[in-house]
């Protein structure tokens, strides 16, 4: 931070660009705050910019699905102090990582007639390739975590990201538990909080868009879903809707999860 203003670069890979929109929306909210930082590179916000850095903070959005992205990511890492993946795609694979559950060619030929020009690789999160310094989770990224990060950066303190399951926020809102009371297949117990229990507050079950909570016990929840009468396919689908096979959700994603249990 040479002249006191943190230099920020925003990079987008395979995703819907919703997180970058969220950032811009956020800027509209509090113009003064982002006036205190210098946005060096952000394609959606301004043309040009310095892609080579150096940056104090690099916000990475999207899943890594091509070789050139890995190379660029490594370059960014080498010139950046804090690399922060933003949004579920960059944090845990997100929606693009659904394709990891089937053979690459099967998926490709389902979408494209001619697959000969495709160069895409398996979809992985940012931290599979470079070390990262924190995560701003959410789909799109949560405003609370983003605000916490920006204020922490300005105050020079360590940001405190949310690390508990959706259930905690849901209870703080006094919602009746939809999993226990109504037997809806809610992913709340294994999903990271931050959304303010949005879905359970609006009378539907959580579908896990914020990605896995640290240390979640997916197998126990998959067992519970099975007892409720969900088929293996359905259970697998719930655990693969958002996120690649992370260590937390993998046990729920394996099709024959009851075999894994033994």
């Amino acid at each position: 931070m040479s002249d006191g203003k943190p230099r920020i670069g925003v990079f987008k890979y395979s995703c819907c660009a919703g997180c970058e929109f969220q950032l811009i929306f956020f800027q509209k909210h509090v113009l003064e705050t982002l006036g205190k930082v210098e946005i060096v590179f952000c394609r959606m916000l301004q043309s040009g910019g310095v892609e080579e850095g150096p940056f104090d903070v690099a916000l990475i959005e999207g899943t890594i699905t091509e070789q050139w992205q890995i190379e660029q990511l490594r370059k960014i890492r080498s010139v950046t102090t804090y690399v922060i993946p933003i949004g579920s795609c960059a944090v845990c694979g997100g929606v693009p990582a659904i394709k990891n559950n089937e053979q690459e060619y099967t998926i490709q030929s389902r979408v494209y007639e001619d697959t000969s020009r495709l160069t895409s690789i398996r979809a992985h999160s940012v931290d599979q390739y470079v070390p990262v310094d924190g995560y701003i989770k959410g789909c799109p990224m949560g405003e609370r975590d983003l605000a916490e990060f920006v204020t922490s950066l300005l105050l020079g303190k360590r940001p405190e990201f949310i690390q508990y399951p959706v259930c905690v926020e849901c209870k703080l809102q006094h919602n009746i538990c939809v999993l226990v009371a109504y037997h809806w297949p809610c992913m709340g117990p294994v999903t990271n909080a931050g959304c303010g229990a949005l879905c359970p507050s609006h009378d539907r079950e959580c579908y896990g868009c914020w990605g896995p909570m640290k240390n979640a016990h997916a197998r126990a929840l998959a067992n519970r879903f099975a007892k409720m009468g969900l088929s293996e396919e359905d259970i697998c689908r719930r655990f693969t809707e958002f996120g690649e096979p992370t260590v937390e959700w993998k046990p729920g994603q394996v099709r024959r999860w009851d075999v894994v249990q033994k």
Binding site: T151, Y164, C177, V180, A181, A216, H217, N223
Partner: protein, 352 residues
């Protein structure tokens, strides 16, 4: 205890209507799909007096799930307390005895040697009217914990009601409760016969429980069997670490401080949120986490309620409402875990 009175069901409704003029009345009402919740009411119409249990006990009116504590303005160097307490004096109507006991357990924490200003204020401004249970609930075992089905407290509450064939018996637990009763319309003095009927009803209700827990010598036993394999077995097979048990428990008191700085970094707001020992990061301290495995966190919950609480506050931390097992997504039952330890206290973990 002063003389008791009886009141007809109609007059009870009229009494609640008149109380709603003086207080913010909070009572059990029907929610979506057959659930009950405690909510503010303006008159007696939405009251569901035959409710069985609610997901959250009425503790959150006294100890809110999110409470703003103070606000600091760095520009003007001013400090202000942000929680002014309830806007009107509250009256919680028809609390079941287990929940009333839970509030008295919370009192030992917050009104003990380290008095909590915010709790004390809300507690003082809250009237409590208890409704004794005439039947057992599915998951409750309050008869074993000595907290039900009829209220066994002698102080700390204002009025206790008992439903006796269409009528309600009212007894005061405090001078201000006595005052409340005197405002009720159509009061009748009751004789000894009614009290006899009440004690018979209590015996009937106590006998209808299906769940029980042998508490004799339990704290000592749990203290001796910290390494019992039941914790690991249950944690590995079922415990999600989702904290539902802790958040619905009416005696849990842990909170975390949450500071929010505005984007200008000028105004800092401090609030406290209910915290949960089942969260992974709860026991994270400098250089590590002293309850890393789920079994350690599960054991913390169970042994705190049934063992170390006794040492800490002189009573059990569990009031036998059964909420932790009802609202556990995988149905973990602490009474069954305790029974397994009582059955085979020296069992070792089988390897392989």
């Amino acid at each position: 205890m002063s003389t008791s009175h009886s009141i007809s069901a109609d007059n009870l409704c009229r009494w609640v209507d008149s109380l709603a003029g003086r207080f913010q009345v909070l009572g059990p009402v029907a929610a979506k799909r057959g659930q009950n919740v405690f909510a503010p009411i303006d008159n007696s119409a939405p009251l569901a007096l035959d409710y069985c249990t609610t997901m959250l006990g009425p503790r959150f009116f006294i100890y809110p799930s999110v409470q703003r504590l103070c606000k600091i303005d760095r520009e003007t160097n001013t400090y202000m307390a942000a929680d002014p307490g309830p806007a009107r004096t509250q009256l919680i109507f028809a609390i079941h005895p287990c929940d009333m006991h839970a509030i008295s357990v919370l009192d030992r924490t917050f009104l003990g040697p380290n008095k909590d200003f915010y709790y004390a204020k809300r507690r003082q401004e809250t009237y409590t009217v208890v409704l004794n249970c005439s039947r057992a609930c599915d998951q409750g075992f309050c008869a074993s914990m000595g907290t039900g089905p009829f209220l066994r407290l002698t102080e700390g509450f204002d009025v206790v009601m008992t439903a006796l064939d269409g009528e309600y018996l009212l007894e005061a637990g405090s001078p201000r409760g006595q005052e409340l009763i005197e405002t009720a319309p159509g009061l009748q003095k009751t004789g000894r016969m009614r009290l006899y009927e009440k004690s018979r009803l209590e015996q009937q209700a106590a006998a209808s429980f299906t769940k029980s827990l042998e508490t004799e010598g339990l704290p000592e036993l749990l203290m001796r069997t910290f390494e019992h394999p039941v914790y690991k077995e249950v944690a590995d097979a079922r415990c999600l670490g989702c904290s539902n048990c802790v958040l619905v428990c009416p005696t849990c008191f842990c909170y975390k401080m949450v500071d929010r700085v505005d984007f200008e970094a000028k105004i800092v707001e401090r609030s406290r949120h209910w915290d949960a020992c089942q969260d992974y990061w709860f026991a994270e301290v400098h250089d590590g986490n002293f309850r890393q495995p789920q079994q350690a966190r599960l054991r913390q919950f169970m042994t705190h309620k049934l063992c170390t609480w006794v040492e800490q506050y002189g009573c059990f931390g569990c009031i036998g409402c059964g909420r932790c097992m009802t609202w556990c997504p995988t149905g973990i039952d602490i009474t069954e875990m305790a029974k397994e330890i009582q059955r085979a206290p020296t069992r070792q973990l089988e390897l392989g």
